[in-house]
Symmetry: C2
Subunit: 415 residues, 2 copies
């Protein structure tokens, strides 16, 4: 019998499964489960017919490069599209700063590898996106949490933390932020705070990693487009900006992009070369054509109205059934409603009951690098239909009721 | 002015560009260049019409999961297909051993991350595939070269090297092999030697990483299918086996797979989760349907005849123009003819002249982890048309003539 453990790297020994992907697996096996867990966009709103047309126009063979190995930085016209999109967001980037990535997740992974050594520090919001946490943690870096206020990162806590880390001789590489409709909290960082965060980064000589997948999905009833202006729009010289077509077109294409200071982009390209040579050729062409033909521009207002309505459905259902048991702020964009249990019940304990009652969500602790957050739930409203959202909230309310009254020492699922 | 160098990881500081990808960039900029450089499959033989049909059948919207986030291990029916394909190659693998990867390059990258710590040793054939060299080197591991004999790895050199490394206290994780029509040498490891390599790995308690992208492209005039039987067909308990659809369907889909001992596969899945969440959904469906509809099975004999004919064209052209100046063994499968300059001329020096004369190839040194190999050329015959192969060899012969007579101190290009 071969002992395979002995062959594993230190990084492999500490790798953990994402709580979100775990719930994805639960979902795949269940039949009548209502899922508020993985942040999936709704499939019924994908422009299927237009995608099929583009695919068949693209696969004629008249351009052989569609299915050939392509440049590591990506299909050049799509890189130009990313520059145009960034321009509409106020960001002045250049060709030598851009890398097309196999989803934004690859961008996060490349950033971890190119910037972080074991023992380095990455500063993360409390809470923060699990995919970034996992990618950065795999490098052996330390992730240190910074508290959030209603308008974003607590600057005082940021200063205290940095002073303490530096006095211990720690090397801080960057602050990771999701300023627009954060996964998981839904939080929108205020414009003034964005400017102050960049000033802070300059003063402290660290980078900002700005992850922006939800920017186009602001809800017009409560959010003006100007409020989503990225930090990179102020200056790109110390910001690595990431965005994606996964939430606006479809995640199955695995197409995102990043813009970094040119010397960093050059290293990210080399890391990607070893990582997968290039992003899928057909996928990049379909996304490019969806932009060029105006499909994306026509689709965005539809998506905003569509997800805003789902936000309303979930918000109203929670109001009706869980007022007093759960606290939350209705999100101003994105896919997530972030809720806090008001009593002593933990979200882990609640999930074990909820799962049995046919509804799942992601527990808060997964998003906190400091091990706190066990009273929080991330409720994703993007994927289920309005009827299923109602049904799911009903089941959730029943689960809260049951879990609050069950004996505290009853067996708890290990998920 | 921000100093970005200070933010880079140790790994990023040592990352180097692949010589093959570099030639790809040269190619993209040149107009009348004959390329024997990147190992691109020929685009004119891709089954475009069938791909377009499959794509349009797949993008109806009746199955929403096609464009949704998918399981990290891959689209389950495609995993089953990989098991069936491995079975035809004599390999008994199981579902819990398989991971679909974003091309085989991702598989190599994941293996590096999951198995190698800085200072660990990976044993590599001299020469070996540059994509593997780069992926493994990025982990900070030491790559140590083992000489090849006509039937593959020199077992005596392997033993001497391992004894020496162990006496120095080095930790050896695996031996990386491309047994079928190796990139770059085209070498086919003999069946008896394959068995002896596995026995060696068991005796020494190390793993074998068996990379097998060219297996289906054996040339029937000189190779029997049985001669391509993978090492993993003997036993999978210490072999990580990789293969791909990039050479048989198209690389633009970025779909490969690996089979590893289950505990290692579980870690590779976690590394992939952080790396890109999942491989493209549409890509996986197209590849799956190409198999299910019998397209792949019908296509393989066509490809074998097609590439065998190109091998003949290059072989004959070299015979006619470069006998005595270059030594080579006609390959028995795959994409590459591996040639050695018989005089004092190095392939680097030759390339600088050849490039000016309109033909490029990859220089040998890129494939040797010990820094030798500067008399070798990798000539890829898969991509150019027969007429262009003739023209390219003519230019190459002229370049050899010119470079052999030019003063040795003339300026040499830095590529």
């Amino acid at each position: 019998m071969t002992n395979h453990e002995q062959f594993l790297s230190r990084s492999a020994l500490t790798m953990r499964e994402s709580a979100i992907r775990q719930m994805g697996a639960v979902l795949a096996q269940a039949s009548d489960m209502v899922s508020f867990a993985p942040g999936y966009p709704a499939e019924d709103v994908f422009p299927w017919k237009a995608f099929a047309e583009i695919a068949s126009d693209t696969l004629t063979g008249s351009d052989g490069s569609v299915l050939q190995y392509g440049p590591t930085r990506g299909f050049k016209p799509l890189g130009d599209v990313s520059l145009e999109i960034m321009k509409t967001r106020g960001i002045e980037s250049r060709t030598d700063q851009v890398v097309i990535t196999t989803g934004s997740q690859q961008g996060l992974d490349l950033i971890g590898r190119v910037l972080l050594d074991p023992g380095d520090v990455a500063l993360m919001e409390l809470p923060s996106y699990t995919g970034a946490i996992t990618a950065f943690r795999n490098t052996g870096a330390s992730l240190v949490g910074i508290r959030q206020e209603p308008d974003g990162v607590d600057l005082d806590h940021l200063d205290t933390t940095v002073r303490k880390l530096r006095s211990e001789g720690r090397r801080i590489k960057f602050l990771y932020l999701v300023p627009n409709f954060q996964n998981p909290s839904g939080l929108l960082i205020g414009l003034e705070k964005r400017a102050r965060l960049l000033e802070w980064a300059e003063r402290q000589d660290v980078l900002i990693v700005e992850d922006d997948p939800y920017r186009d999905l602001y809800f017009p009833d409560v959010t003006r487009e100007e409020e989503t202006r990225p930090i990179a729009a102020i200056d790109t010289s110390r910001v690595i900006y990431l965005s994606s077509f996964s939430k606006t077109l479809a995640p199955g294409f695995r197409v995102g992009w990043l813009s970094a200071p040119a010397p960093v982009a050059a290293k990210l390209e080399l890391a990607k070369q070893a990582g997968d040579l290039c992003t899928g050729g057909l996928d990049q062409r379909v996304v490019y054509e969806a932009y060029r033909r105006g499909l994306l521009a026509r689709h965005l207002p539809v998506l905003r109205a569509y997800y805003q309505k789902k936000r309303d459905t979930m918000s109203r259902a929670l109001d009706a059934r869980l007022t007093g048991k759960l606290g939350w702020v209705p999100p101003r964009g994105g896919f997530f409603l972030w809720a806090e249990l008001t009593g002593h019940l933990t979200s882990d304990r609640l999930l074990s009951v909820a799962r049995r009652r046919g509804v799942i969500f992601v527990t808060g602790a997964a998003f906190f690098v400091d091990g706190t957050g066990d009273r929080f739930l991330r409720l994703c409203f993007s994927s289920a239909s309005p009827e299923r959202i109602e049904e799911g909230v009903k089941r959730l309310a029943e689960a809260v009721e049951e879990a609050s009254h069950a004996p505290a020492d009853s067996p708890v699922s290990s998920i």
